[in-house]
């Protein structure tokens, strides 16, 4: 079972293979890792008609140039990066066909941070500890570079037409729901109230472990001096020694000694991961019961998204030069309305 090879001809500094990561290893000190924006992997699976997410290329801020050695469908999801196939723009949150004659070029992020290129058969590099995901802080895998060749699985439905998915915007910051965590009560009521009333900006400091948030005003501190390190997880909003919040992302450590004011709920964590430096974020308080009521399994999210996928149709008015348009290639202009965000 081979679906050919994806060849990188150029790669930004933050291009890695990512999948759903390695759950069940918290007791070994290994955080789950996996895609920084998990929903983008699920969207790709929905677009490609898959019943489970597959391994993809995650691109942080900057994309890559790729060719392939066998025809396949691919999906582009997550951050909106300038992407073109042989010079023609691709729509975000859509699938397209690619053959060995084509060259895909993905540039810088125009909105959001993490973009995902998913071949229909998935990237089929060898699994390490049950996953193909690079986990850089654990020393598993490494950033990809020009010349790397990645095996792909066979496209299970190579003739399926290009599809598109309209997704709710999560690339431009906004409001993020936070539920109480084990240490919320270490912060006094005034500090908590101020936290939920503050407008933060995503700082330049940030990576797959977590992102720093900056704000005007005094720091968010507690009175606790001798706090033992405790279990931490993605979504936790941790206040460093100087009272500056960091939201932990997929590759965070498993134990940490900084107090945490609460946990960003899973549905909204992609909004934090995708916020580019300078993007404004606010936190909205929800109770544990509200968070529980909002929870949905990723399997259910995929089933719902599969129902929302639509054929990629183009309005002739949007196509300036219909005669030169390659009707077979599934590419569109980059400024069409469907599925942006």
């Amino acid at each position: 079972m081979t679906g050919g090879t994806l060849i990188l001809h150029r790669a930004g500094p933050g291009v890695t293979v990512q999948d759903e990561g390695r759950p069940y290893r918290l007791a070994e000190g290994l955080s789950r890792g996996g895609a920084a924006d998990r929903l983008a992997l699920i969207e790709a699976a929905a677009l490609l008609g898959l019943h489970a997410p597959v391994a993809a290329l995650e691109m942080a801020m900057l994309g890559c140039d790729v060719t392939c050695t066998a025809p396949t469908r691919l999906a582009l999801t997550g951050a909106r990066m300038a992407a073109d196939l042989n010079g023609t723009s691709l729509a975000p949150n859509s699938t397209f066909w690619m053959t060995p004659e084509d060259r895909l070029s993905i540039g810088a992020a125009r909105a959001g941070t993490y973009s995902y290129l998913t071949p229909a058969g998935g990237i089929q590099t060898s699994e390490i500890i049950g996953s193909r995901a690079a986990h850089l802080t654990a020393g598993i895998g490494k950033p990809l570079q020009a010349g790397d060749e990645l095996p792909m699985g066979e496209d299970p439905d190579p003739n399926a037409p290009p599809m598109i998915l309209r997704v709710e915007d999560r690339l431009s910051g906004g409001s993020v729901r936070v539920m109480p965590g084990p240490q919320s009560d270490l912060f006094d009521a005034e500090t908590r109230a101020r936290f939920f009333a503050t407008e933060f900006r995503r700082a330049r400091t940030g990576n797959r472990q977590g992102v720093r948030l900056d704000a005007e005003g005094p720091p968010f501190t507690t009175q606790t001096e001798t706090l033992a390190s405790d279990i931490i997880q993605p979504g936790d909003v941790q206040m460093t020694g100087d009272g500056v919040p960091y939201v932990l992302l997929s590759e965070c450590q498993t134990m940490g000694g900084y107090p945490r004011i609460g946990t960003v709920i899973a549905q909204d964590l992609g909004r934090v991961a995708q916020a580019a430096p300078g993007t404004s974020l606010r936190f909205a308080e929800v109770s544990a019961a509200e968070a529980d009521a909002l929870w949905r399994s990723e399997a259910d999210q995929l089933i719902a998204l599969r129902k929302s996928v639509q054929p990629l149709r183009r309005d002739p008015h949007d196509i300036p030069d219909l005669l030169s348009y390659q009707l077979i290639s599934g590419v569109v202009r980059g400024d069409e309305q469907g599925g942006t965000g």
Binding site: Y24, L26, I128, I140, S229, Q233, Q253, A288, L294
Partner: protein
């Protein structure tokens, strides 16, 4: 069991709860965590997917599609009530590891300072470390990184104010009655008292993580020449460590 503490049960994400026995790593707390974690592992509560512990708490991740927070909290509370969390006897270890180490000298630049802080003689400090029946209290911070303890009260020495920029991988470091063997070169305020060739986590090894919380650890003296030999020929990354499986 009258003074047996019951854990605070706290939400930790929409699919998790934390059973917290304290905020700082006191001896009674650390012991209670070991007892509580073992009880949770033995009970396998319905819908619980993953159990992990820190020095002060036990974390349960559950599948909200199979159970509810209320059910997991109730089950956890009933399991906690069924064990004596004030006991001083820890659950029997499942594994006993013996890990060779060079203490002091160039391989442990903070050893002498640590010995002074404990008030022991050099000889006595070595005896304490090499005869201690340590337990892995938690694995965390980095993959496979063990927090081991607790050493006697004399070893309750705070971390250094000034962080040592880079302590090598496999270094044995000490602070606050605990020992750690680093898995990677690490900046740290813990005192570097010895050196092993023991890699707690090695990607290509199966299992990649050698130790589990609850394991017993004994340190065994080796010479700098032994260490050099293990550093140059260490195919399993265990640095000469031996593991006995206890029933």
């Amino acid at each position: 069991m009258s003074d047996s503490p019951l854990p605070e049960i706290l939400p930790h994400g929409a699919d998790g709860i934390l059973l917290r026995l304290g905020l700082s790593a006191r001896e009674s707390t650390v012991a209670a965590v070991q007892i509580l974690r073992a009880a949770m592992e033995d009970a396998c509560p319905h819908g619980v997917e993953e159990i992990a512990s820190s020095l002060t708490s036990v974390y349960l991740r559950f599948d909200p599609a199979r159970t509810t927070r209320a059910e997991v909290c109730a089950t956890a509370q009933s399991i906690a009530r069924g064990v004596d969390l004030s006991a001083t006897t820890l659950p029997a270890p499942r594994h006993r590891w013996t890990i060779p180490v060079v203490l002091g000298g160039e391989h442990g630049p903070h050893f002498d300072e640590m010995v002074r802080a404990t008030g022991h003689s050099d000889q006595r400090a070595r005896e304490v470390l090499l005869s201690a029946r340590l337990r892995v209290l938690a694995i965390g911070f980095a993959p496979g990184l063990p927090y081991m303890g607790l050493l006697p009260e004399a070893w309750d020495v705070p971390r250094l104010r000034d962080v040592t920029p880079k302590v090598p991988a496999c270094a044995l470091v000490a602070a606050v009655r605990q020992l750690i063997i680093f898995t990677n070169p690490t900046p740290t305020g813990w005192r570097h008292i010895g050196q092993t060739a023991f890699h707690g986590f090695q990607v290509g090894r199966d299992p990649a993580t050698a130790l589990s919380a609850g394991d017993e650890i004994r340190l065994e003296q080796m010479t700098p020449a032994d260490l050099h030999g293990l550093q140059t020929d260490n195919p399993d990354g265990l640095g000469g460590a031996r593991c006995e499986v206890l029933s």
